[in-house]
């Protein structure tokens, strides 16, 4: 049954977490620990951070993230289509041409609008 496989995945997940945490724990045990104020300061060329660290970023990042989500959602449709294509006919290809055509033209629009240019 399917769920069996996912029990393995779950175990693997736990194993990966353990695999990542174990060395850190070991390092805690065997590594030297000498705390000092200077040492724990953020590494910005030896000068303390000026102003706020968590600055506000430009909207460009957000537009890219948004386009990423749009195209990621598009794959949500592409995967089932590709998986089921064998039992469908050529019409499925045509439907996908229409679907992708719209999205591609959306991309072309964004391109022509200049938002794809990273400055």
């Amino acid at each position: 049954m399917i769920i069996n496989n996912y029990i393995f995945i779950g175990l693997l997940l736990l194993a990966a977490i353990a695999f990542a945490l174990a060395p850190i724990l070991v390092a805690r045990l065997i590594a030297p620990r000498k705390r000092s104020r200077t040492k724990s300061e953020p590494y910005e060329c030896g000068v303390l951070t000026l102003g706020e660290t968590w600055v506000r970023f430009r909207i460009q990042y957000y537009i890219f993230a948004l386009m990423f989500v749009v195209f990621d959602v598009e794959t949500l449709f592409l995967f089932p289509w590709a998986a089921g294509y064998a039992s469908l006919g050529l019409f499925a290809l045509v439907e996908m041409v229409v679907f992708l055509g719209f999205l591609l033209l959306g991309l072309v629009y964004a391109w022509a609008k200049g938002v794809l240019r990273w400055v």
Binding site: F102, L105, A112
Partner: protein, 621 residues
């Protein structure tokens, strides 16, 4: 390899969605053309050309929609002639009285055809209105979003299945959110877009959650199948069905938002005021029509068995909830509109109030003995309301163009400067109040008469008298704020610079709306006849899509469309010409029909197409 139930796709079905496809593609054309022109032309010329192309698109879509509507009619009217230039399979397809498309996810009946045409006409007027003045830089985007919103509306009013319905609803509203926010020079526009978006997405989530409950309860998303299952389950009303009640509440929240019914109305005034007038007009008209049609389909068709248990409206059942919502909505809308000085805001509140009246109509549909008549009344109301509102928003656009404001006071003295248009606006306002003999009066009359109908009352035995009384009282209240517009136009002296003469783009919507409103008032029977014919298939078609044997996301294949085995007699041809499609078959599994409701339903369209209905029933397993 596991075999997958071979769902089939009938490519001829795409013929009936040609207008939608055309509009979708045309939106892209406009968008890309605008981009291309932006580098070559100055803004004014670009706006002109983009607008022209968009108008051409709506014209083309109108022609296509007309053709889509007429070809089957012509073929049925002249089968011999049609046979000479259409293939046998096409002919069979056109003669097929089953109006469902794409395995029953869409309806292809008269209601869809008529409203497709209506949407396209309204869209054309709104596109023209957008050209009237320059309120945004993003012309192509704005027009494309209007086009795509229209696609959403057309498919929303055609949807016979919850997934399609939801996607169409989202397409419509998302395009409208964005169009609302596109007037980027004004902060109000962005604010309006954001408010609209946040309220809208929350209510969409609730709506989808409600739909998932319905799916979980019934195992299907097809409206007619849901109805059949609920009838078979013999649970009339929501008594002892808490899950159903929750579903109803959640779905109601979704629709309530779209039509701005009261607990979900907060977005409307801000959105109407902040949005550019054409976008607001499209929210107020197209989106409202489509949402109400979908509302009626979901509630009065799919969830009809849950309408009310028996005698009492306020017993568990969605009618009771809707009745309360309707009462609160119209009262609140009218009272709040009284205080408004801003024209668009006033229109927003008045549209909330009209949503309340329309909900009374929906209740009447839920209770009515003659569903098509009751639904026809609601559709009639919707059409008249839409045109009256469109004219009002054209006036708002005029204000925005010349005065860059939306205050009612800015209309001062219009009656002297522009008497013709001022009289037209007056007529529209009177129609919105419901003064005879304008269309608005008959809209209200029909809706309220349906609510008070004797047979309805005998079925429900409670009367909706209190609701109708409240509605009438509200109509009186509404007169005060509509009259304020008239007073400004005719009794006040103009202040500041007067408004320039309206150009064709603004005058045309006003004149056409007035013509429709007056025409509907003078010959209400004509429009009412069309609307009743349209409403008949909308709520009564039993589209048997899949037999439910098990709760499964994958239904067994849809039964093939029954190829009509009968001869096309002249008589039947006439009937089919009226597109009286199918009629209600006997409710699936038999058993004692609950509370005789299904019985009355199935007997409803008895005047029409009895023969095809029985033929189809034979063909069905």
């Amino acid at each position: 390899m596991p075999t997958v139930g071979p769902s089939t796709l009938d490519f001829r079905d795409f013929f009936f969605v040609a207008p939608e496809m055309l509009l979708a593609v045309w939106g892209l054309v406009v968008l890309l053309l605008d981009l291309w022109l932006a580098r070559r032309l100055d803004p004014a010329a670009r706006r002109l050309w983009v607008g022209r192309v968009a108008l051409a698109g709506t014209g083309l879509a109108f022609a296509v929609a007309l053709a889509v509507g007429l070809v089957p009619l012509m073929a049925r009217a002249y089968p011999e002639d049609a046979g000479s230039w259409l293939s046998k399979s096409t002919l069979d397809y056109l003669f097929d009285t089953d109006p469902s498309l794409f395995s029953g996810t869409l309806a292809g009946d008269l209601q869809v055809g008529a409203f497709d045409l209506l949407y396209i006409v309204l869209l054309g007027l709104i596109v023209g209105l957008s050209r009237a003045w320059s309120f945004t830089e993003e012309w192509g985007e704005f027009l494309a979003l209007l086009f795509w919103a229209t696609v959403g509306m057309m498919l929303l009013s055609a949807a016979e299945e919850l997934i399609t319905l939801f996607v169409a609803l989202e397409t419509m509203t998302i395009c409208l959110y964005l169009a609302t926010a596109l007037e980027k020079t004004r902060r109000r526009s962005a604010e309006a877009g954001l408010k609209y978006f946040i309220y809208g997405s929350v209510s969409s989530a609730l709506f989808l959650f409600g739909l998932s409950y319905v799916y979980g309860l019934t195992g299907t998303t097809h409206l007619s199948a849901i109805r059949r299952l609920l009838v078979e389950a013999q649970q009339s009303g929501l008594t002892a069905n808490a899950a159903g009640a929750t579903a109803v509440l959640l779905i109601l929240a979704g629709f309530g938002f779209k039509i701005a019914a009261v607990p979900f109305h907060q977005w409307a005034p801000d959105a109407y005021e902040g949005a550019p007038a054409p976008a607001a007009a499209w929210i107020a008209t197209g989106s409202k029509i489509a949402s109400l049609i979908a509302f009626m389909k979901v509630f009065a068709n799919a969830l009809e068995p849950w309408a009310s248990p028996d005698s009492n409206v306020l017993r568990p059942g969605w009618i009771g909830i809707v009745a309360v919502v309707a009462a609160v909505t119209m009262t609140y809308g009218n009272l709040a509109a009284l205080r408004q000085r801003n024209f668009k805001r006033m229109l927003a509140y008045s549209s909330i109030a009209h949503g309340g009246y329309l909900l009374v109509g929906v209740i009447a549909v839920g209770l009515a003995a003659d569903v098509s008549r009751a639904a026809g009344a609601v559709l009639f109301y919707l059409v008249v309301y839409a045109f009256a509102n469109l004219g009002a928003f054209a006036a708002a656009a005029w204000l925005a163009r010349d005065k860059e404001s939306d205050q009612i006071d800015d209309l001062n003295g219009l009656g002297r400067k522009q008497p013709l248009l001022a009289i037209c606006i007056t007529l529209l306002m009177l129609s919105l109040i419901g003064i005879p003999p304008l269309g608005g009066f008959f809209g209200k009359l029909y809706v309220f008469m349906e609510a008070l109908d004797e047979r309805t009352a005998s079925r429900g035995s409670i009367s909706l008298v209190w609701l109708v009384g409240l509605a009438l009282l509200n109509s009186v209240v509404s007169a005060f704020y509509y009259v304020r517009v008239l007073r400004a136009m005719f009794l006040r002296e103009p202040a500041g610079k007067p408004m320039a003469a309206a150009d064709r783009l603004i005058a045309l919507p006003i004149l056409l709306s007035t013509a429709v409103v007056v025409g509907a008032g003078l010959t209400p029977d004509l429009l009412m006849g069309v609307m009743q014919a349209a409403a008949a298939p909308m709520l009564t078609t039993p589209i048997v899509v899949h037999k439910l044997t098990a709760p499964t996301p994958v239904g067994p294949p849809a039964p093939k469309k029954p190829t009509p085995a009968f001869q096309y007699s002249a008589d039947q041809m006439k009937k089919m010409g009226q597109m009286a499609t199918g009629g209600a078959g006997p409710p699936g599994g038999g058993g004692p029909a609950p509370k005789a409701k299904a019985g009355t339903k199935s007997a409803t369209p008895k005047s029409k197409a009895q023969a095809p209905a029985s033929k189809k029933a034979e063909n069905r397993p």
